[in-house]
């Protein structure tokens, strides 16, 4: 049995804020690896008439997919969890080489009350991995700042071709709890 203290039960509004921003920036392709923190946003995307949600088998597929999307004239955003960032590292090299607009929204694990030690190594290096890969990092730690952070991230990614990752902190999402 598992239960979550967050999120889907109490219906946070911030995923709707993210969806609205993505819609305003004409995002069309939304590759994702399923993740509890992103579950409401994924649901919005899958019921959207303008966005296409594309489930992946591994996060690096999403980086290559977005390169192809841009070549074909569409914007996209990659949704993943901090542990998935490690799966992307070599594929992230496409971003500076091809110079396509890259935006990813990363739900964080391995911080703020994490109960699972296996999430900590990747969670605590996520920001460093992005920065070493030439990707700017912005963070949202509470629901109130999500709209402004998303607006800034999307603007610099799509308008200034500045690859950007938004880390949605575990404090925002709520720490995952397993109970017997």
């Amino acid at each position: 049995m598992q239960a979550r203290t967050d999120a889907s039960d109490t219906a946070p509004k911030w995923p709707d804020d993210i969806f609205a921003t993505l819609q305003r920036f004409d995002v069309r392709q939304v590759p994702y690896v399923p993740d509890a923190g992103h579950s409401k946003l994924i649901q919005r995307v899958l019921t959207s008439s303008t966005m296409r949600g594309i489930p992946l088998t591994t996060e690096e597929e999403g980086v290559a997919l977005l390169a192809g999307a841009w070549t074909g004239g569409q914007r996209g955003v990659l949704l993943m969890q901090s542990s998935g960032v490690g799966n992307c590292i070599n594929m992230l090299s496409l971003i500076p080489i091809l110079r396509f607009p890259f935006l990813t929204l990363v739900t964080m694990r391995g911080e703020w009350g994490e109960f699972n030690p296996w999430q900590v190594p990747m969670g605590s290096t996520t920001q460093g991995v992005f920065e070493l890969s030439g990707i700017k990092v912005l963070r949202a730690s509470n629901a109130a700042e999500v709209p402004a952070v998303l607006e800034a991230a999307a603007a610099q990614a799509y308008n200034a071709l500045t690859p950007t990752a938004v880390l949605l902190s575990q404090r925002l999402i709520g720490a995952k709890v397993f109970t017997k």
Partner: protein, 196 residues
């Protein structure tokens, strides 16, 4: 080692692109990108020099963005093995305008010819079919290559996958541009997109 009766990679790729019309062609990291170049540099060629395993997914993103254009990924067995999960992603999305050809020489030709999994165990046609790509073919003759080249233009019948057993002989390297931004922007320009 070259085996008898296997197809010549350059002939295969030349046949695939001989009457390409509006096809966007994506080469995989390695010799397949050189093969596409050898068939003739083209504004709609996407040459991959890195990001191994990404060719099929670049094709998927492009195919979704441009559903009226035939998108053809031509890659090698090593590159396809690295991105094998992408066949499951493509099988789920079912982009009807996407075709994937694997030039399968059962070896990593770029790095000294080490044998690949397809030489003894992995059946990529079986993988593609089991991932939901119903039109998955094993190709061993030029007539079948030419048939596949025609099918690439049928926008309502994909996705399709072909594994072509080719000779493992090394051929002359014909290198395209290494400037990724140029390559992508040239395709975008040809599709009518302005620079930002």
């Amino acid at each position: 080692m070259s085996k008898a009766n296997l197809l010549d990679r350059r002939q295969v790729v030349s046949a695939l692109l001989a009457d390409r019309k509006d096809v966007v062609a994506i080469g995989g990291l390695g010799a397949s990108t050189n093969d596409i170049t050898a068939a003739g540099d083209h504004a709609r060629n996407f040459y991959l020099w890195g990001g191994m395993g990404g060719a099929a997914m670049i094709g998927l993103g492009l195919a979704i963005a441009q559903p009226k254009l035939p998108v053809l990924v031509i890659t090698g067995d090593g590159e396809m093995l690295m991105g094998m999960g992408s066949l499951a992603t493509i099988g789920l999305q079912k982009p009807s305008n996407l075709s994937i050809v694997v030039l399968d020489n059962e070896a990593y030709g770029e790095t000294g010819g080490q044998t690949s999994h397809t030489s003894a165990a992995a059946d990529l046609v079986g993988v593609a079919r089991a991932c939901g790509i119903a039109d998955s073919r094993a190709i061993s003759t030029m007539a079948e290559v030419e048939g596949f080249a025609k099918a690439v233009h049928h926008l309502s019948a994909g996705p399709r996958f072909a594994n072509v057993k080719i000779d493992s002989a090394n051929v002359e390297r014909i290198l395209p541009s290494r400037d990724g931004t140029y390559i992508v922007n040239r395709i975008r320009g040809d599709l009518g997109f302005q620079p930002i």
